[in-house]
Amino acid sequence: MSSLPRRIIKETQRLMQEPVPGINAIPDENNARYFHVIVTGPNDSPFEGGVFKLELFLPEDYPMSAPKVRFITKIYHPNIDRLGRICLDVLKDKWSPALQIRTILLSIQALLSAPNPDDPLANDVAELWKVNEAEAIRNAREWTQKYAVED
């Protein structure tokens, strides 16, 4: 295992010093490249009130390649599949080394506010989102209450 690049140390420090509202990322105590992430559902979205757990991993060649991010908490969203995988351009072909953990998590938070059923990952969810948005939003609210709200 090679030593941790300066960039990862700096990013981690800055995440701790200047946290982003609604986003919490803490490195695993045994692996500084693995982060336990919590994103709160944005206001005025069907995910409002939810607390979503994610995992984020910085690959060996980070920042030359994008972090790997996945939802652990179940979520009803057209761009997030059953396994929690996220369809987001900045995690794939639009990745640039000028992006950071912070900006990626902000993009994911924005994706919760603006689902994009025309570029689906969860096909059944996207289909319903297109033909009956009201029902889809109702489902998303239900799932949020069921899986993302702590009792």
Partner: protein, 181 residues
């Protein structure tokens, strides 16, 4: 006071050196001998660093045969001349040729030295490694005038010919003239 500044700078330079060694393990870095590193720095010293001048000087033809040409001769190891008939090429060879072409292309982007004039914090450090630039450190200028450490940006340009910060494609004219030959 001066002494303190120099000490700090030495520390930073040391850190940059460590990074460049790490960087080479990624496999995409330009393998350059130490002497070439020095020649590249010397060549860039004559260039004006601030503003548009760097671009125009770089793209102007260089009758003296500057450091650029030395690099091309090194790359010939991977890069057979068009007149040479190659044996049936394996996939590896194709990849090597692609890499060598890309390396040659990247070498045509201007190199300068950081003059320490950046005011905003965001411009004082390299967006890729997040380490602050040191005065007189070698940086590469992209056509959009964003700057990065030489080894950081070259590693990225081997993967994507775009500016990491503004996503501006690296000069299209430059691309077509070298990738078609």
């Amino acid at each position: 006071m001066l002494k303190v500044i120099f000490t700090k700078r030495d520390v930073l330079l040391g850190a940059a050196g460590q990074l460049s060694r790490k960087c080479c393990r990624m496999g995409n870095c330009l393998k350059m001998s130490t002497s070439d590193d020095i020649s590249l720095l010397r060549g860039s010293e004559s260039m004006s660093v601030s503003g548009q001048d760097v671009n125009s000087e770089m793209f102007a033809s260089d009758p003296g045969g500057g450091p650029i040409f030395q690099h091309e001769s090194i790359q010939q190891v991977f890069y057979p001349t068009p007149s040479v008939s190659r044996p049936a090429s394996t996939e590896d060879e194709q990849v090597n040729i692609k890499k060598a072409k890309r390396m040659g292309l990247i070498q045509h982007l201007p190199v300068g030295t950081y003059d320490g004039s950046a005011k905003k914090t965001q411009e004082r450090e390299c967006d890729i490694c997040m380490v602050e630039f040191c005065v007189d450190e070698a940086v590469r200028y992209l056509p959009c005038m964003h700057i990065y450490h030489l080894h950081c940006i070259d590693d990225w340009l081997m993967r994507s010919l775009t500016c990491p910060r503004c996503l501006e494609p690296v000069d299209a004219a430059l691309l077509t003239s070298y990738e078609t030959t």
